[in-house]
Structures are given as C-alpha cells and as structure tokens.
C-alpha cells in the first residue's frame, strides 16, 4: 500500500479547521493553531506593521479564521524583521527572537530539486536563506536543511526557481510546529 504523505495545503474541511498548511503559515511567534483563532482579536496591527506585506489577513472564506494573519510564503515570504511580534496586543504572536522563530520547517524535495536530481547546480535556497550556513547548509553543493535552525520563514520557497506539483516548489515549508501535537 502506498499512501500520500501530506494533506493538501489549504483545503478547507469545515469553517473551524485551521487554514495552515504547506507554504501557508502563521507569522512568527504564533501560538498553536488550537488557540490561535480564539486568542487573536483580528486587530490587524501585525498586518499594518509588516513592511514587506508578507502578512495578509485571511478573509471570510477561511471561516472563523477570517481576519487572522497568515503568510503565503510562495508569494511573499517572511523576512523576519520581527516587528509583528512586538505589536501583538494579545500575545497571539509571542515576543520571540528571530532565531527562536518556528513558523514551520523547510524540506527539500529531493525528487524535484534539480541539484539533488543531479541535473544542475542551483543554490538559490541556500543563497537567499537569512540564516545561511545555519539553517541551510551545503553538502557537496547540495543544499540541506538544518532542522534545529530553520525558522520556516519561507524565503527559500519564494526564491526556489523549480516548480513542483500543485504550486509547490522544490523546497517547501511544512507547518509541523503549528499544532500542540507538533510541538510536543
């Protein structure tokens, strides 16, 4: 039996389900998804303060999550300026430091990445990573993710020139820390 490993991103089950999925993340310092929609008062201050317009408020299609902030990293990733965590009045985004940020974990899909497929030499993800040499390192010029250091900011996803299936890239962010289970 062969099973699909990841649920599709952003597929809406019911109006109460978390919208977070592959490459669709919460801003830095977010509390777990179980708490997020309850704690966030949709004041939009994180959206306003974000200088890169990375943070977008979700709309009514996301049910009770309407108005909550999210980052579609393939469109505009988080540049980790950490301004949003400073302004959140409810502690939904906790005041954390850049390196403590865990929006998700990048994963290089070795079956899509041209470097891993041995077809070319691409290092874009490594080059654009704000924690170059910490979160993405090179193993014989092939990029790999250092789980302990990856903030999940998605700059690598945004930069990745290789398109995979269904809007994915050769490197994608999996929001594995977004739930209580994921954090445990």
């Amino acid at each position: 039996m062969v099973m699909a490993l990841t649920p599709a991103a952003g597929v809406q089950g019911s109006l109460l389900d978390s919208p977070v999925g592959v490459n669709l993340l919460r801003p830095p310092g977010a509390v777990e998804e179980e708490l997020f929609p309850a704690k966030c008062i949709r004041c939009g201050r994180c959206v306003e303060v974000c200088p890169y317009r990375s943070i977008v408020p979700l709309d009514a299609r996301y049910g009770v999550h309407a108005g909550t902030p999210a980052v579609f990293v393939a469109k505009i990733p988080c540049y980790l300026c950490m301004k949003c965590v400073e302004v959140c009045p409810t502690g939904t985004l906790r005041r954390i430091a850049l390196k403590e940020t865990r929006m998700g974990l990048a994963e290089i899909d070795k079956h899509v990445c041209v470097t891993w497929r041995d077809e070319g030499l691409c290092r874009t993800c490594y080059n654009v990573c704000p924690l170059k040499e910490e979160a993405i390192k090179l193993d014989e010029l092939r990029p790999y993710i250092v789980e302990e250091a990856c903030t999940g900011c998605g700059i690598c996803v945004h930069g990745c020139p290789v398109a995979g299936e269904r809007g994915r890239k050769a490197v994608n962010i999996h929001p594995i820390y977004s739930t209580r289970q994921g954090r445990g």
Partner: protein, 799 residues
Amino acid sequence: MGLSRREFIKRTAALTAASCAGVSLTLPQAEEAQAFDADEWVRGSCRLCGVGCRVELGVKNGRPVALRGVPDSKTNFGYLCMKGMLFYKLMGHPDRLTKPLYRKSKKDKFKEISWDEALDIAAREFAKAVKTHGSDSVAYYGSGQALTEETYLFQKVMRGGLRTNNVEGNPRLCMASAVGGYLTSFGADEPIGSYADIEQATCFFLIGSNMAEAHPVLFRRVMRRKLDNKDAVKVINADPRISPTSRVADLHLQFEPGTDLALLNAMAYVIIEEGLYDEKFIGQYTTFRMGKKEEVSFEEYRSFLRDYTPERAAAICKGNITPDKIRTAARWFAKSNATMSMWTMGINQRKRGVWANNLIHNLHIITGQLMKPGADSFSLTGQPNACGGVREGGGLCHILPGHRLVKKDKLRHQVEDLWGIPRGRIPAKPGYHTMAMFTAVNQGKIKAIWINCTSPAQSLPNADLYRKGMAREDLFMVVTDIFPTKTTELANLVLPTAFHFEKTGVYGCTERRSQLTWKAVDPPGEAKPEVWIVREWALRLAKELDDPVIAKCVAPFVGKEEQYELPEAIWNEYTQKLTKGRDNDLRGATYRVLRQRPDGVQWPAPTEEWALKGGTYKKFVRGMDPLADEHAKDEKPYQFYGPAHPDKKLWIWLRPHKGPEEMPDAEFPFYLSTGRVIDQWHTASMTGRIPELMRANPYAYVEVNPRDAKRLGISPGDMILVESRRGRNLLPAKVYEGPVEGMVFVYWYDQHEDRLINRVTKDAFDPGSKEPEFKICACRIKRVSGPKVLKPYLASITT
C-alpha cells in the same frame, strides 16, 4: 492542516531510504514534474558565463522547450547552473526587440522602420562622420558575448574599411589585466593549461574570485576534487569578502581591499627565504625583470622581496591576515604536488591589475608549479566569448586577429595582405581603449558609435559621467541587442538581433576551447544575425563613401545565406588565413570538425587531424602541443614560443605593492566593492527576464559587516544610502558576515537608477591594461529608513 512532527520524521525516513535505494516514491511531490519530449536536441554551448558548459537545446515544433546538460561533456560533466538551465526562455520572450527602431533626436520616441531604412541611416551617419570629422570620429564597442564571427567581421570593416582602430569591447572591463599579465609573464595570452588540471591539482589558490557564484559549474569540479580528497587537497581562498567560495577553503585569507600585491609578494618572500623554489626550473626557463628591457638577477629579486616579510605584509593587509597564515599559504602553494591558481575580477579590476596577475604568475614560475599536470596559473573569464572572439579575434583597440599587435608594422601588413587590401589601410596607431573611447564620446570627438551586445550605460564605472556623453545630441549611436537595456535608452538606432541558438557561430571559452552553436530556432520578428547586419551595412558604407576597399572587406561573404553559410565563410577566413602561424592556430577547427567534436577544440590546433583529437590540453609542452615541437630550438621539454617574449622565456616580475586609486578617508570611510550573485548575470538584461531567476534576486542590496551595522544602527532590510564622490545609490541592507569590516559590497546587476551601483564606482584604470578599478573605491553609508517594499526594474523602450 499541518504535518505532525512524528509524521514529518516518518516522511523523512521514507524519503531517505528511497533515495538510498534509488526508488522513486509515488509521493504527490515526487511525481515527475516535467516530462520533456522534444523533437530534437541541438548541441551548443551555454550563452552565459565563461565556463563554456556544453548544453543541448530541446526543440519541439520549432520552439525551444528545454535545456539540458550532457553527462559526457568535458567542461561541465552535464551540470548546469539555473541560468544555463533556463536561458532558453529568452528565445520567445515578449520583451524581445523584433523591429529596427529609429529616432533622429534622443528626445524623441522611437518609431519602427524597415531594415532597408535602418541600414541606410546607419551607413549615412557613419559616412557623414568620417567625411566631416575623419576616420577616428567613428567607433565600435563590442562584447565578449558576440560570436567570434561577429567580432571578426565588425573589426575588419572598422579597420580595413573605415581605417580606424577604434575597435573595443567590454572584455576591456573584465579581463584586459589578465591579458596583460599573460603577455608580460608568459609571452603569450591565455592560460597554459585546461580545466582538466583541476582533477590533478592538490592545492588550489583562489584569489579575487567568488567562483562558487560566478563560475558555479567549474567550482563544482574544484569542490569535488577537494571533497573526494579531503586531506590530500588544500584550498586557499584569498578575498576581502567571505563568499560561498570560501566554504570549501582550508584557509581563508581575508585582507583589506587593495592589499593583494603585498600578500602575493610576501608569499614569494616565504618561498624564496625557506628555499621552497624550483632552482632548476628558474635556471632553465626564466629571467627576472624590472622593466621590459631591464633584466635583473635572482639576488636582486630576493632583496626586493625583503620589503615584504610576512610581518610587514600582515600589517598592510590587515583583516584576518597574520604572518603565520601567509607562511602556511606559501608553504602549501610551494610544497603541493600540483598547485592551480584561479582568479577573476578581484585581481583584474584593479588599478594595478596587470601587476597582480604578474605576481600570481611569479608564484607559479618560481615554484615550478606550472607545466606539470594539475599545476597552472589559470585566469577565469566572465563572458562566453571574451577569449575566443575578442582576445583572439582582434576585438580590442591595440590587437589584430591572431594575437597580432597593431603597432607592429610587420604584423599589421600581414593582416592587410591576408585581407587583400592596400598596405597602410589599417592605421599604425592603436585606437581609443574603452575608457578613452567614452571620454572621447564625452568630449564630442566621436560622432558615431556602434554598440553591439553590451550595455555600457550600466556597466561602465562612474556611469553617470559617461551616460552624459552617450546622451549627446551630436553623437549618433547604434545599438544592436536582443532586449531593451539602459543603453538602448540613449540610442538613435536600435537593431534587433538573433539570440544564441537563433544563429550559428563559435564561442571560445576560458580554456582555449572553441565550441560551435548551431542555429536551432528562428529569431523572432525581423531580428537578424549580426553578421548579416554588418555585411549589409558595409556594402552601403562603400557606396556612401565611394570606397571600393570597404566593399572588398565583405566581398568574400556577399550573397551567402546568413544563417549557416555566412558565419562559416567568415570563420574559414579567420581561422585558415589569420590564425595560420600564430599561437592560437585554429586551422584544424573547421565547422566540419567542430560539428563532429561534441566538446569543440582547444587551440593550438593547426590540423584537422589534431583538432579531431580535441586539440591541445597544455600549451608549450613538447609532445602535447604541436607548436611546441614546431618551434623547438633545443631539447628542453618546454618551449615558450609566445610571440611577446623574444627570449622565449618566462619573466619573473619585480612589482612593488601599490594600493587602490581611492582610499577610504574621514569623509568616505568605507571601501565599496561590487560583484555577482549566482542567479543573475552582468546587467541582468537576460537573467532579469527569467521569472524564476528574478524572483530569487529581484533587486540588489548592500552587504554590510555585522560589526559596522551595529555601529551605524543598521538592521537587515533598512534602506541605506551608499554615496561616493561620483554618485549615490539607495539600497536595502543585508547584514552579513561577508565583507571585511570597513567594506561594503553591492551586486551590480540591478538596472534601477537607485540601485545602479556603477553610478558610484570609480573610473580609475590600470595604466597597463586600461582596465578600470571597479572593485575598489571609497564610499560612505547612511541609514535612511526602515525596510521598503521595492519593485524589480528592467529598462524598456517606448515607441
């Protein structure tokens, strides 16, 4: 819905196991994204950097659909970088220039005209300039990206037809110092060895080169060599900036910009003082020189070096340099079985670029790290055909095809005879070199200029100054290119040309390797190959000036079909006539042979028989280089027959340390240096139009050392004003442990006026090679605001 951590680990476990076993998992993402089924794969070389990767263009229904590498190729082993993999997207790009565009005044808008009108205008304007202001009022400024056939034909028409040596090209900005270095040290241009030395070297000395980004595929070979032989192979990287290249280095020498000459002399000092030199090699093959005619002794060289003890040099170099590091580097260099040096713009774009080249060659000559497999002093070029077209094909003001100097009467007359034009037709005086040419434009001395396949409005240092000249109303400027650039913005006549794989011709890469790219797809609209444009223009010029000699220059090519026959005829004339008896003898590399040999031919290749074996891997070695056998005067294994050294020896130069033209001071306290990022190339007129590449690097930024950033209150993303005595830029900051403290670094591809860094750089140049010192000038930086949302920018044309 997120993936739980456990699921994630399981997934990783499965994928790792699958990749170990070579099993393709049927995971959603693992499905093959692209199954290209091209009708035909056409062979050629990559359009972008100087490495010369072999590529194959997939064509389906007459349209390009993919590019791929071929594993058995000699240069790249099948690897391509993203630029190389994606440049096929430029062939049908909507921004392509497809019709000749003209405007009388630079204030007007362009309007589309026919080729007939365009060529008439170009001929009339050039003829008018020649008639009223003399031959030297016209100029050609070409490119290391033009095909050899194009450069050759342009310079033939300019020199033989219009009687001017005002023939230049952007390689002056990029490797003129390397040419000067090779000629003065070895007596012959171009490296002695080949890429193949990489797999034999046991020590790499990489200086002034961010090879990992500028020559990624070649760097892969260096890295492989290092990682496969971790202990046996040493890598020394010398650069004021920590770059991805430094990653594989065992030793990173981070010095202050402009102190490289002291470092190199200090390494020589250690080698001499510790007796690590090759006495026999020095005795047999070398002489020591203070000047061209001034020979000195070994003892004098030794005492000259006493000014450069590691202690003194470390004090000059600063950064992380210690006397011990210099000693270690020198010992590794001298003691390894085979040492290969590689460098590029960090060395060449210096006020004393030729000297810096000489000093690297010195290290190789005194240690004998030169002729054996794996040992070489190897300059890397930035453009695909700077070596082939411009250096060999006569694309600079002082050289004629086949490495001939303009000022040597005998060589000049040879060329005139071979072309069948009257002696004295080519002026004896070299023309304007690049910086002098654009200064002459500023002064109004040049009335008509033809700029082919390059964008000096962006790539010249101190660009604002020279753009003023290019904007003059009394200058008629023709630009041939495939896309609008910062330079087409200043042109009167813009002519659309065919792109790589849309025309046929030869590129000669860094290792003397000529590779043929065959036309595979049609150019868009009315775009034409340059060779056709020059031929037609020359015929009209002949009429305008009533000069049959101009017609004679293109007579052998008249009537030839322009896609295949015309370039072949030009190539044949160039190789069979002009390279005969020269050190870059290419007579064996006919189109027939080049089509047969997938990886092209390395010169010297005097016969087809030799060329079919691939040509010459290492010059000057008897048994390996047919010319070494031919020129041999004695039984020595190495024969340095280069045309510039009458004594047939290698010259060891005594070159003192000299700093940059402009040093930081109280007003402008920072060094500014510029360079390249892996995904963008040169002025980004091509790579900027590939969405995948532009997304990764939409705009340039300024790299600031974290300690400087802290001192100045600069956070990542803040907008920074970078200002010099010449101009200013406004760039976002990247705080990064890259540049040495007190230095900032900016990528130069960005076309936006706020981020066009050559508005800030300095136009001082090397008095020997005339190559500008792009890499070092003084600037100041100031935080202006927090992060701003910036948009990528590419020049366009309004009609």
